[in-house]
């Protein structure tokens, strides 16, 4: 069991998690997603008993990214409906970069796998242990992500 205080855990992994989240939701939303994940997982009974709070937090960040993914899709629909009365959303810098844009077509889970594979340089078992999925699932997600990315980047 990880006996460190919540503040110590936050200090130890906060920067790392925000960097990870930047690959999932873009830099603008990354700090929000990370802190929300921390708050949510901190309320879980599992948190106090967790042996690996870092991994638990990683999974919570992916979950929050999915929530944002869904709410963003809904928001876009609503914004289109009221486009004449509501100012357009700020320019989404997440989509300015070509690779970032390509990442945007992936599911949040696939983005998480891509980030942990390429940024954290983890092998499939390592990615799987952080995300709570099997290495086989990681490989499947990574293979799909690669195919999509190659297509998006014109290397398919």
């Amino acid at each position: 069991m990880d006996d460190r205080s919540d503040e110590a855990v936050y200090a130890a992994y906060g920067v790392e998690l925000v960097r990870f989240a930047a690959g999932l939701v873009g830099p603008d939303d990354a700090p929000d997603v990370v802190v929300e994940a921390f708050l949510r997982v901190g309320r879980s009974p599992a948190w106090t008993q967790a042996r690996d709070k870092r991994a638990l937090w990683y999974r919570a960040v992916v979950f929050e990214a999915r929530s944002l993914h869904r709410s963003t899709a809904r928001r876009q629909v609503r914004e289109r409906r009221v486009a004449t009365t509501v100012p357009p959303a700020a320019v989404d810098t997440w989509r300015d970069d070509r690779v970032s844009e390509a990442l945007g077509v992936l599911s949040p889970q696939q983005r998480a796998v891509v980030m942990l594979t390429y940024w954290a340089d983890l092998d499939p078992p390592g990615v799987g242990s952080l995300l709570g999925i099997s290495a086989g699932a990681v490989k499947k997600q990574l293979a799909r992500a690669r195919r999509k990315l190659k297509g998006e980047l014109g290397h398919g």
């Binding site: 929000d32 009974p45 948190w47 999974r59 869904r70 809904r74 099997s134």
Partner: protein
């Protein structure tokens, strides 16, 4: 660009993205009350949006995601953010087990994979797109029910609800004393509308299950018309199973119906007992009543991910806290977080009571890989609930493989690394011309003889179709359906083999030349032996899925 260069570029790109991230917010207090600082602002907005979702949207969400989205995204319009209330600040107060029932509830087995189900992605699409939901629904029905759609005043299509990127349309007809009705579910994505499922009144597919090896279960229908079922390739929209019996003559669409089964009359119902080997990540099941032409359409997708992870429970009101407590104790953040509905302290009087179903599910509790929870209301549209009862079965209620094998089986399981995987031969096999001397990927090697060969993966296995070559295989139109049989057997567990009976299909790429496909390599972890037979030649290899 080869894989190595691609990987290197991706590594640089994502590192740049990560390095560009801002610093984290200051440390928040995880157990705080109403005001959690800046980090909670967006959460409140999300919850507010959720609270406005209509029931139909939630119903479709259940369909799309196997339940957890609905549980977390507004099935109940009283949703509140518990983090903003003192009562909801702690999980313990929200999920205190019901003292009268809690001891009866098994603990959900921890440690199983948690595979996310995705969300608003058109991955369960069976038809589309259309510029408008109505257009997509009409086009879909015209394709699936062509004669009815072509009959003047025959097929009536009406919008039931369109909310936040989801839409439900009803269809019905009453022609010559024959009438029925059904619903089409659509999703808006990428600026277009896509059909993701269809159901028909009286068609019950709740007992269909997919365990990554076979599609099994009973499909029944009231009425006098025969029922046919096809297993359909998502990409092509065409059945991928060879016809196993009598099929229905092609209608105007030219589509052969009933390739995976046709009903017989049992106990006053049209019944199909389907039992078909399938090893695909995703496919669609298409069920239609036919009487001279297609009369109904029930269609939905099944995916390997769904089969591994999803179960929807209808929970009686008194049990909700105990269920959530069991899930929360499971030490799986994802599962815990799927149950926002309980956190929001829903009005229990609005829950559907379904105790018998629940008891049955709990009886199998120890064999469930994971549990997802969906709650349904009876108000305001009870009809949707009935649809959900169909959809829960066809989309989501799928008994998963047991995560805990019996002791003797466990003992027989070789430890990791002990699977005697087939290695590339020291002297590389070189196929005859015109096939290339080496496979297309550096991660692969040819294995076999001129009579029958395949590729084996050197590093780690990737998701692959089961592909085979032979110098005897002429390919092309000369042999579009080669007599190739492929069997996958687990060497480390006593499980039934996955059998892909002949024929296979032909395929061609510039890099691979003509080759044969039959089935797909399994993705379930374990030590596997693949054995193929073609024109009297048999070839086997062993591989491990980690």
């Amino acid at each position: 660009m080869d894989d190595v260069e691609f990987d290197e570029r991706m590594r640089n790109a994502v590192t740049g993205i990560a390095d560009g991230a801002p610093p984290p917010h200051p440390f928040p207090a995880p157990t705080g009350g109403a005001d959690q600082g800046d980090g909670l602002g967006r959460r409140r907005r999300v919850m507010d949006h959720r609270s406005r979702l209509a029931l139909v949207a939630a119903a479709v969400a259940v369909l799309l995601t196997g339940g957890w989205l609905a549980a977390s995204a507004g099935l109940f319009d009283q949703s509140v953010d518990i983090a903003a209330t003192d009562e909801g600040a702690g999980m313990s107060s929200a999920v205190a087990p019901n003292p009268g029932r809690s001891q009866e509830w098994p603990t959900v087995t921890p440690g199983a994979d948690l595979i996310p189900l995705g969300a608003l992605e058109p991955r369960r699409v069976i038809f589309g797109p259309g510029d408008e939901a109505a257009t997509a629904a009409a086009d879909y029905l015209a394709d699936r029910l062509p004669d009815l759609a072509a009959t003047p005043d025959g097929l009536v299509i009406e919008e039931v609800e369109t909310v936040d990127g989801h839409a439900v349309f009803s269809w019905s007809y009453d022609i010559a004393d024959v009438s029925t009705t059904g619903w089409v579910y659509l999703l808006e994505a990428e600026g277009s509308w896509w059909v993701v499922a269809a159901v028909s009144d009286g068609v019950d597919a709740r007992r269909v299950a997919y365990d990554l090896r076979r599609v099994t279960g009973l499909i029944t229908a009231t009425g006098d018309n025969a029922l046919v079922v096809d297993l359909v390739d998502i990409d092509t929209g065409e059945p991928f199973q060879p016809a196993t019996g009598d099929t229905v003559d092609p209608g105007p669409s030219g589509r052969q119906l009933g390739t995976a089964g046709r009903s017989e009359r049992l106990d006053g119902e049209e019944t199909i007992d389907i039992d078909t080997p399938v090893a695909r990540e995703q496919f669609a099941i298409r069920i239609q009543a036919v009487g001279g032409t297609a009369l109904t359409i029930t269609e939905f997708t099944v995916s390997a991910e769904t089969a591994e992870t999803v179960l929807i429970l209808f929970v009686e009101p008194a049990a909700i806290n105990a269920v959530v407590a069991a899930l929360a104790a499971d030490d799986r953040t994802g599962d815990y977080q799927r149950h926002d509905a309980a956190e929001t302290r829903v009005d229990e009087q609005r829950l559907v009571s379904a105790a018998p179903e629940l008891a049955e599910i709990w009886d199998a509790g120890s064999e469930l890989e994971s549990v997802s929870l969906a709650l349904a209301t009876t108000d305001p549209i009870a009809a949707v609930i009935e649809e959900l009862r169909l959809l829960e079965g066809v989309v989501a209620v799928v008994p998963a493989p047991s995560p805990s094998p019996p002791d003797d089986e466990e003992a027989a399981t070789p430890a990791r690394g002990e699977c005697p995987t087939t290695q590339p031969p020291e002297e590389a096999f070189v196929p005859p011309a015109p096939w290339p001397a080496t496979p297309a990927s550096d991660n692969m090697a040819w294995y076999g003889t001129d009579e029958l060969w395949t590729v084996i993966e050197i590093d780690w296995p990737i998701e692959n179709k089961s592909v085979w070559w032979s110098a005897q295989f002429p390919g092309g139109p000369d042999e579009p359906n080669p007599p190739l049989t492929v069997i996958f057997e687990r060497l480390d567990a006593d499980l039934p083999p996955i059998v892909y009976d002949a024929p296979g299909t032909n395929a061609f790429t510039d890099a691979d030349q003509w080759f044969m496909i039959n089935g797909r390599e399994p993705t379930e972890s374990g030590c596997w032996q693949a054995t193929a037979t073609y024109r009297g030649t048999t070839l086997s290899y062993i591989f491990e899925v980690p």
